[in-house]
Subunit: 342 residues, 2 copies
């Protein structure tokens, strides 16, 4: 492992659970330390004991060697003001990791500056060359495949996959977390951002990911889910990932109490039971996937309310429900293993 | 309208209903004539009274000005032997239209040859710049939106959309066919190949298409469907198109008698009734789409068997069923108009 030290660029977004999710995921799960976070609106505060600073220049005092674009934007493009932050980082000799759809390596000015300063630009969402349609190898992978799905974006599908993978490895299982998005790739150091591939090759990219997860020794694969089947913008990605990764079991993630798609207040969410049925029905007839349990995101609730929400979800669906981040992944892991070995 | 005259390149595939579907669609529906088809394996034969010739050189005698890549390939790449055909066409002064995922304009040798010979390369599947996620404008489009969906690829979703659009215009309705794939674009002269856009922007591209269809004067839009929700390779595209185009009504296309996905003999098809329910359930809660009728492809059946298949489909689903290509689009158009005006 390199001794990479991150400066996370999160200007204006370090307090935003949705658009700051790359920052949050990397701080929580990356093997590499984050030494400072740039967000001038919150300079002087801390996030998880990491200093928030007002500028790249201030952050340099903490000795980073890599700047990470720590925010998501709708549509995945750079707000113009970001160019200054990126250029300042490059001029200071930092490598840059970027998970937006807009690729730094395609930007002539940024690329030339990187060459001039001898730094590397890593576009985490840039698909590998040579992707195509699936070959059927996804259905021949020897591992048991588990995919996290959900009622919305940014509710914890990646976190649940990581927590279940950790719990499985803690039990001595040969488990691998399979990253499918920019934050997962930044954390694990491999993967494909399936939302950035040509739409026709979505399932092919998902197949590649589970084949690679097994090649890395996984006997159980926890595949990071993307989007939601009921999301008006991102459902295509979810569907391609569902079919291409060919899961044996699903874990349905949901923010306790949510009733509409976040940011789309006119779009109601189906009930948990309807979501369970929709996902099982949408899975391939040749590889029917069963929802093993419900992973609730109860971050907004008191502990008592969180336990009550889990009990209500169990009552509604007849499936185990838990908040694995809050209460540990053991019960959902048990449920998953029961399904994949049944 | 220009006086474009097509030479269709269909080497080895002119007899193949699946991989030759661009050739077939353009011959059947393009306003521009096809003067010859290149397929050395069938030289001397004809297709729809168009001469099939053994080489580009022979085809030139018919006076074409545009070569059209008339085949699809799995994964959308050029077999190496095709380079010679393309180079010969360019050297003969023909513009080239190409609907594969591999873009001619990205190929340095082909591009330089095109410049040298003063011809144009048109990559029909190249997405326009600036696509992003949907804005919600799809739900504000004033037109009634009809999407063709189906049990498989290459069973007639484009043909059904074109036939229903023609039938609607014949009745004096302000109807527009909305092309979403390379053949539809070649026929109509506009559109976006949604399977070639970055997966995250699938729904955004579909939104652009229905907004543009209304801008072109459509009060009823017949949107060309892509792939199938139950297809192991292409379901993501179908889902993104279903949500992004925000249809009021669906027409479910099915090849009469098909029981498995073509080319995927292990993948069983659900029943027609299950397909109706799956598509209605998969549509957005905010814009629930109703299946208005079943469009059967009965090309392999006798007329009596075709009528029996339609009757059986009506019996199973309780919906009108017909083969619009064989028996005319009137009955399905009636069914669609009942649903969109209900």
């Amino acid at each position: 492992m390199s001794d990479k030290r991150y400066l996370i660029l999160a200007e204006g977004k370090s307090g935003d659970a949705h658009y700051g999710k790359t920052m949050r995921g990397v701080v929580a799960y990356s093997p590499h330390p984050t030494v400072a976070i740039v967000d001038s609106a919150r300079a002087g505060e801390t996030y998880e004991q990491i200093p928030i600073v007002g500028s790249v220049e201030e952050g340099l005092a903490q000795g980073p060697d890599t700047a990470l674009v720590g925010v998501a934007t709708q549509g995945g493009r750079f707000p113009p003001a970001w160019r200054a932050l990126l250029k300042e980082s490059i001029a200071a000799g930092l490598d840059v990791e970027n998970g937006l759809h807009e690729f730094l390596s395609d930007d002539r000015e940024i690329s030339e500056l990187a060459i001039e300063h001898g730094v590397e630009l890593r576009d985490l969402r840039k698909p590998p060359p040579g992707l195509s349609v699936p070959t059927g190898e996804n259905l021949r992978v020897q591992a048991k495949i588990v995919l996290t799905v959900g009622s919305d974006c940014a509710i914890g599908k990646k976190t649940v996959a990581i927590e279940l993978d950790r719990a499985a490895r803690a039990r001595g299982l040969k488990s691998v977390f399979v990253p499918t998005g920019q934050t997962g790739i930044a954390i694990a150091g491999w993967g494909i951002a399936v939302d950035a591939v040509v739409a026709d090759f979505l399932a092919g990219a998902a197949e590649w990911l589970v084949v690679e997860g097994a090649r890395r020794g996984g006997e159980v694969l926890f595949v990071e889910g993307q989007g939601a089947l009921v999301h008006p913008a991102y459902s295509g990605v979810t569907m391609g990932l569902l079919h291409g990764s060919a899961p044996h079991a699903l874990v349905l993630c949901h923010r306790a109490g949510a009733e509409v798609v976040e940011g789309y207040p006119d779009h109601p969410l189906p009930s948990l039971m309807e979501l369970v049925e929709l996902h099982e029905w949408a899975s391939l007839p040749l590889r029917p996937a069963k929802v093993a349990g419900i992973a609730l995101n109860t971050g907004d609730l008191s502990e008592a309310d969180a336990r009550a929400a889990a009990a209500a979800a169990e009552e509604e669906t007849g499936l185990p429900a838990d908040d694995p981040l809050r209460f540990g992944g053991a019960s959902l892991l048990d449920a998953v293993l029961r399904v994949v070995h049944s």
